[in-house]
């Protein structure tokens, strides 16, 4: 069972975010980065499948030099080898279509049974990249995977639906699954793993190697303006008899504020 895991590096969760001078995205100076949370669970699931069924875990990540840190972390946790899409041309691929196109091109010649992505990234949160890859490579796919059971001729996947419902689907291999956060317990790297990672293959791939130009990667979607949510305060007086007012309050808390 060979599994590819697509990793994305995002600003750390506790980062103090400021809007960049051009007003289009966050100011990325002084930020620390980490593996996007759902991708960390995808990696963990791949490592667990490998431990059960054997095979190879290959991680693929696109981005500037700093993303090597997340790639190395994945190798230290037990991934076997890595592909780094490392080229200024890839900077143009800032939307799901461009990122998906680049990753799919890089995976075209890889031999795998499964591709895992996180359900969505912690920065843009498109939840699309996995499906774009599946579409471009002609893979079957399932989203929001909560449990993964490879079996004869395919894979059974428990998907999360709304309101506490789940669904089991069986799809043929090769397949792409987008993995939900929290489906397993993340492991730590170990010092041994960190040392071993130094000897593992980390292949750098340029856009030209994939036959892609900056034009091919141009985003179909452009961010016009980024801004911090405005904080506002509204006070509403609920009139009526105490019992009615209380009932109304509960309703508002449940359906408007959604805190109950």
């Amino acid at each position: 069972m060979n599994i590819v895991v697509c990793l994305k590096q995002v600003p750390k969760k506790d980062s103090i975010l400021r809007i960049a001078a051009d007003g289009k995205w966050i100011d990325d100076r002084d930020l620390s980065y980490e593996m996007s949370e759902a991708d960390a669970y995808a990696l963990e699931e791949a490592l667990r499948q490998k431990e059960k069924h054997g095979g190879e875990v290959i991680v693929i990540c696109m981005g500037p030099e700093r993303v090597r840190q997340s790639i190395k972390e994945a190798l230290a946790k037990g991934a076997d080898r890595a592909i780094h899409l490392y080229d200024e041309a890839f900077d143009h691929a800032s939307d799901a279509a461009g990122i998906g196109r680049a990753l799919a091109a890089a995976l075209k010649d890889e031999k795998f049974d499964l591709v895992f992505t996180g359900l969505q990234s912690d920065d843009y949160g498109f939840a699309q990249v996995g499906l774009v890859i599946a579409e471009r490579l002609g893979l079957s796919s399932a989203t929001i995977a909560m449990e993964v059971q490879p079996e004869e001729g395919g894979v059974r996947v428990k998907r999360e639906l709304e309101s506490g419902w789940f669904q089991w689907v069986k799809i043929p291999l090769p397949a792409l699954l987008t993995i939900q956060s929290g489906i397993n317990q993340l492991r730590y790297a170990t010092l041994k793993g960190i040392m071993a990672a130094k000897k593992k293959e980390l292949r750098e791939v340029k856009a030209a190697d994939l036959g892609l130009t900056a034009d091919d990667l141009k985003p179909a979607q452009v961010i016009e303006r980024a801004y911090l949510p405005l904080k506002s305060k509204q006070t509403e007086m609920i009139e009526g008899k105490p019992a009615e007012a209380a009932a109304k309050l509960v309703e508002k808390l449940r359906f408007d504020a959604r805190v109950l």
Partner: protein
């Protein structure tokens, strides 16, 4: 010497950071500091963190001190207790690795690296702390055994540890030259533990240790008779770098809290970070941490290259522990009244900081060591 971490050091730092956030903090929140944190200690072994600078052939990480102190500092980023425990565990490992026989090393180092055995270092006595050459615990040869008699005090991990490196006098009247060092295993006949001491901020379990005609095999002697003082001092030279590293983690933790709080706490219609009085404190705190970190890294750098490092190690210990005390004091000050509340983290860091100025040679002893090095060349 590079001021930036290597890729490997940064990975190790991140591993420790994740472990602290994922396991260490939740453990202490749930269990407090009353019991020795065995699950955390065992986990250090699983992660390969219980013997970072010791040889790979004995199960260690085989890495240098420059890397080891990165892990120690990070492990102390929410308090120095576990980092302190690891540093104390490191002293017997260091002694066995440097002075032990092959048999001693093979027997003890691998299980200590796996954190199956916890180590302790027993030098201090009720009447001999800084003046370590005046210890009274005696060790007398009888056939193929040594018989130990005496009392140690303030022994970190006392009663918990499985392996004690004990300094005892084998030849009276020779001062430092009459001291030898021994391995005493928990369970040895005549080894007994006194009441739990509760020093402010010191890691976990500190106890008196008694040797009541405690019999140990002759081959538990480390090195030769009379070498014990040198063994102890060699260990402490390196140990000082580790104390500096854990104190730095603590200082950084206190500073990070204070910096954030200063931007949140409002007074006179402004965050208090807008006031120059607070800004100067923050600037001084950050500056002293940077300075102490530089000296600590230099001490590790010198040690890694086999250069004399003991004076710089003393400078690092002196500067880092004084910095931790000052920075944590100022952090409490910036928090104001809340700083003294047990509901806020800085008071605990403040209480933990003090012991750093006392252990592994008081900061007065560090100054003596530094001055002795400075004046050495003028002596006839």
């Amino acid at each position: 010497m590079d001021y930036l971490l290597t890729e490997e050091q940064e990975q190790l730092r991140r591993l420790v950071e994740e472990f602290v956030l994922g396991d260490v903090n939740p453990y202490y929140e749930k269990h407090g500091h009353e019991e020795f944190p065995w699950p955390l200690f065992r986990k250090l072994g699983e992660l390969g963190l219980a013997a970072i600078p010791f040889p790979a052939e004995y199960g260690g990480g085989g890495l240098d001190y420059s890397t080891y102190i990165v892990a120690l500092e990070e492990l102390s980023r929410t308090g120095s207790r576990l980092g302190g425990a690891l540093a104390v565990h490191g002293l017997p490992q260091l002694i066995l690795n440097q002075f032990g026989t092959d048999e001693q090393k093979s027997k003890y180092l691998p299980p200590m690296a796996r954190a199956e055995l916890l180590g302790a270092f027993a030098l201090t006595e009720p009447h001999a702390g800084s003046d370590a050459a005046s210890i009274n615990t005696r060790a007398s040869r009888r056939g193929d055994k040594y018989i130990l008699r005496g009392q140690k005090i303030w022994i970190t991990h006392g009663g918990e540890a499985d392996i004690y490196i004990v300094m005892a006098v084998t030849e009276k009247g020779k001062g430092a030259k009459g001291v030898s060092s021994f391995i005493v295993e928990k369970g040895a006949e005549g080894l007994a533990f006194g009441k739990r001491e509760r020093p402010m901020g010191l890691p976990h379990h500190t106890r008196e240790v008694f040797f009541e005609d405690c019999e140990i095999p002759r081959h538990n002697l480390i090195g030769r008779e009379g070498e014990g003082f040198r063994v102890a001092m060699t260990a402490l030279d390196s140990g000082r770098i580790t104390v500096a590293a854990t104190s730095l983690g603590l200082a950084q933790a206190a500073f990070d809290h204070a910096l954030r709080y200063a931007t949140e706490r409002q007074a006179f219609g402004h965050p208090i970070a807008d006031f120059q009085g607070i800004q100067f404190m923050l600037a001084d705190m950050a500056t002293s941490i940077e300075a102490a970190r530089s000296v600590t890294r230099k001490a590790a750098y010198l040690r890694d290259r086999g250069l004399p490092f003991n004076a710089v190690a003393s400078m690092a210990k002196l500067l880092a522990t004084d910095t931790a005390m000052k920075v944590s004091t100022d952090a409490v000050q910036i928090y104001g009244g809340y700083g003294t509340s047990e509901d806020y983290p800085v008071q605990e860091l403040f209480r933990e900081a003090k012991i750093g100025q006392i252990v592994e040679g008081t900061n007065q002893i560090q100054r003596m060591i530094i001055a002795r090095e400075l004046l050495k060349k003028f002596k006839q």
